[in-house]
Amino acid sequence: MKYQRLSILALSAAAFIGVWWISTYVYFNPKIVVPPNLVAETLWEITRNGELFEHVWASARRVVVGYVIGAVFGIGLGTIIGLYRIAEELLEPPLQFVRNITPVAIVPLAINLFGLDEGSKYAVIVYSTIIPIIFNTAGGVGGTPQIRIRAAMCLGAGQADIFFRIVVPSAWPFIVTGLRIALGFAFMGVVAAEMIAADEGVGFMIMQSRNMFLPAQMFAGIFLLGMIGVGTDRLIRFALDRLMSRYMMTLNSDVGVT
């Protein structure tokens, strides 16, 4: 049965590429919508001359740094908001306002604040990741069933025990969801920042390709982005499944797909 599904998936991917190919010549202008074989060629070319690695590494580096910082502070702040009513009442309104300001819009501000160097990229990525993580963490921490805390109290758990052994495991699935969403936003942030002001990175490569009228390279960049995204998402899902399956059992329904 599994093979049947795998073959359908493979066929679909092939069909997609096929449709792409055909439509390039039949419908679109091949100078604007590049056929897959050219994209593949370009990808190979830039892999060979090291350009691919250079750009991917630049973007990856930025994402990792920004994501980790954003995750640490996001989980910290989210926990505080989830635990303490005062924090929630103080911080939620401005956060609710700010969450509507998409990371893309922040790029110019980041550049003003931190210049054209790495600092502004990190800032944008931290901003992109910290907001969803704060909200999901706060939701998970604050949503710990009261009955569970009471059960632990009856069994002699002190404040610290309750936090580490009850609140944290209960909130974990929510935190994980936040981390996954944040990764998507991190990619968005880095691409936006690189498109507007950078001299390396996947976003930069895409933008530069357009400016230099290299459509094949532009498509190659976009394709690359897609593959990286799929790859990292799969990786995270796999890692979490293996490492954290115990704690994910508390998840009831994962409603809300981004």
Partner: protein, 253 residues
Amino acid sequence: MNLAKIGRISLSMLLVIGVWWASSGTIFSEMIVPKPWDVMKQFVDMIESKELFVHITASFRRISVGYVLGCTIGLVLGMVMGATRVTRDILTPPIEFFRNIPPVAMVPVVISFFGIGELGKYFLISYATTIVMILNTAAGVSATPRIRVRAAQCLGADQWSIFLRVVLPSAWPYILIGLRIALGFAFTGIVASEMLAAQEGIGFLIMQSTNILEPLDMFVGFVLLGGFGLLTDQTLRAVIGKLARRHMVAIGR
């Protein structure tokens, strides 16, 4: 929304504005982070000069068209995708692929293809919206409890009736959540495309501010984005609340 709650929210916002005011001119140069009062004045000026109106209507128009278009297409495709395992498997590779490409990345392609006209913006926003709607709708449709379908079959419902009266209502909460998430992405899409290829609009306002060294414009833009985003999100939530009540589903935070 009682008085006490409004009071607490106001207090919180006042505190934030206080921190903002204090940081401007001290930690941050006023050329980068202007004082709140100045931003307010600029805001009022722009209303008077009708400039604000131009930007807001432009962005609003683009979002509306793109969002409605995208949601419609997304809904239909999502239902198809979620309907059977086969359709899901067939549609998953392309959807999975595109979902991982942020709308921002598509802007250069869109510009190449559509130029810097309005069509490109409509397309981009629709694109972002559609992907989200497909995913959420498909999730909702495929999550229809099989037991409900069987119950309907026992009661003599044909395929079409089952779809309309069992699958759709069951998927409704997911669809509604999708609408909310999609709105957020629509906003992202509009800002991205306006920042990179437009002559008016909120995104343009923000981007332009760096070019003409007018930080006030940027912050007016932020206020607009935050404000409209909040407004539309809360409105959508209220509408969803009304519509979903019948289905007795608690939609999370």
